[in-house]
């Protein structure tokens, strides 16, 4: 069937109209509950109650930000696999670019002086902001992924304002970035298995990815850094995720900013 026939097929129009109508009726008749809801759902209520609750030490995570608590404590394994998917996606992408010629170090003029100077300032500010977003992930809105995406903006800024050659002149190659990524991933896995390793050496029962003490396991990650809540392992996970995401996205930017002739296959 050619594309023109598909486009004009009454069956497609009928199917799409039916989907729209059916889902609209379901929502209008309150299939998702009354929108907007007035009360929290039961699971959400439990998590909001316990995300920072020193009076219930077996369920709390000592994180002021409930979203971070869900991401790295209550559903921690989910997020570890999410990071693994990101890793696999970027690994697949770099495999696609494996046999290309690569950078033909030209001169790479870049933009005008005004743009270059202001980018220098912005790079500094962006770095500080991204670190702040990442390490305050358990206290304020933000987290490792958000901070990492902000840091990756720097790479694209440098590529646009200076040139891709500048990145290589700074001594940063895709191989280095890959190495930092592996390290960050290993850090995440290591933080996840620290309680288990501890339990193997001492004989006290502990779980994988454990953050705060449970009924049958007294082990706990640090809860406070002086007077600031640390959220146990959430802070360390955010830090590792920050590095992993920043390097992943920088790698994507570097691969996609190659010129077309550099992308042709090696002879």
């Amino acid at each position: 069937m050619s594309i023109g026939k598909i486009r004009r097929s009454p069956l497609i129009a009928f199917a799409l109209a039916t989907i729209t109508l059916a889902l609209s009726i379901v929502i209008a008749s309150g299939g998702l509950g009354i929108l907007p809801p007035k009360d929290l759902r039961e699971l959400g209520r439990t998590i909001v109650t316990n995300c920072f609750n020193p009076w219930n030490r077996t369920l709390t995570s000592f994180s002021l930000n409930a979203v971070s608590a869900v991401i790295w404590d209550y559903r921690g394994i989910d997020t570890v696999f999410e990071t693994a998917v990101l890793f696999a996606g970027i690994a697949g992408l770099s495999t696609l670019f494996k046999n290309v010629k690569g950078l033909t170090l030209g001169t790479g003029g870049g933009s005008t002086l005004i743009v270059r100077r202001s980018v220098k300032l912005v790079v500094l500010l962006t770095t500080v902001a991204s670190i702040s977003i990442a390490i305050h992930g358990h206290l304020t809105p933000g987290g490792g992924f958000q901070g990492g995406s902000v840091l990756a903006v720097i790479t694209s800024l440098i590529v646009v304002a200076y040139s891709i050659e500048t990145i290589h002149r700074l001594g940063i190659s895709t191989k280095d970035i890959m190495r930092i990524r592996y390290t960050a991933l290993l850090m995440i896995i290591l933080i996840a298995v620290i309680p288990t390793l501890y339990s193997l050496t001492t004989g006290i029962h502990a779980y994988l990815l454990q953050n705060m003490p449970k009924d049958d396991s007294p082990i706990s990650m640090p809860t406070n850094f002086f007077n600031t809540p640390l959220g146990g392992s959430i802070f360390f996970f955010n830090l590792a995720e920050y590095i992993a995401v920043a390097t992943s996205l920088s790698l994507v930017v570097l691969l996609f900013s190659m010129r077309l002739k550099e992308l042709s296959l090696e002879d």
């Binding site: 598909i6 799409l16 009360d39 759902r41 959400g44 998590i47 991401i71 996609f256």
Partner: protein
């Protein structure tokens, strides 16, 4: 019916229409790049939809707040007060996971598209089919 309920239901239905239009784009568009953009619109609409479901208008206070404690709660009362005004954190946590996975998938898809373009010098889905037809005719 309350105006707010009507507004929210209309938004939800509009998002469903958006999803259906994106599905239509994925099925029928010739350009692979536009197919990928349709897929991106599809997934982002789903994200907005989940956030919309997680939103809430509290009974007691008029405006909801994000699920983040502004201060360290000193008593159990503080947590109970926080419960009366915060929105649901779970859809937000799901969506940040979904965004990361989308990012991985779409950067891989973009890489595939680049390779496709390099090989066929076109992003048309039927470029292969048409080449075969031309071979048959001549």
């Amino acid at each position: 019916m309350d105006m707010l309920v009507i507004a929210f239901t209309t938004t939800a239905i509009a998002l469903i229409v958006n999803i259906v239009i994106a599905t239509y784009g994925i099925f029928t568009d010739r350009s692979l790049l536009k197919k990928v953009i349709s897929l991106l619109i599809f997934s982002d609409t789903l994200s907005v939809f989940a956030i919309l479901i997680g939103f809430r208008i509290p009974k007691v206070v008029s405006s909801p707040s994000p699920p983040i404690h502004l201060d360290i709660p000193g008593t159990v009362k503080d947590i109970e007060e926080f419960l009366t005004r915060t929105v649901d954190p779970i859809p937000q946590a799901f969506i940040i996971t979904a965004i990361v996975i989308n990012l991985a998938i779409f950067s891989f898809l973009a890489g595939l598209l680049l390779q496709y373009y390099k090989h066929f010098e076109s992003l048309d889905v039927h470029v292969l089919e048409e080449e075969e037809v031309v071979d048959e005719v001549y």
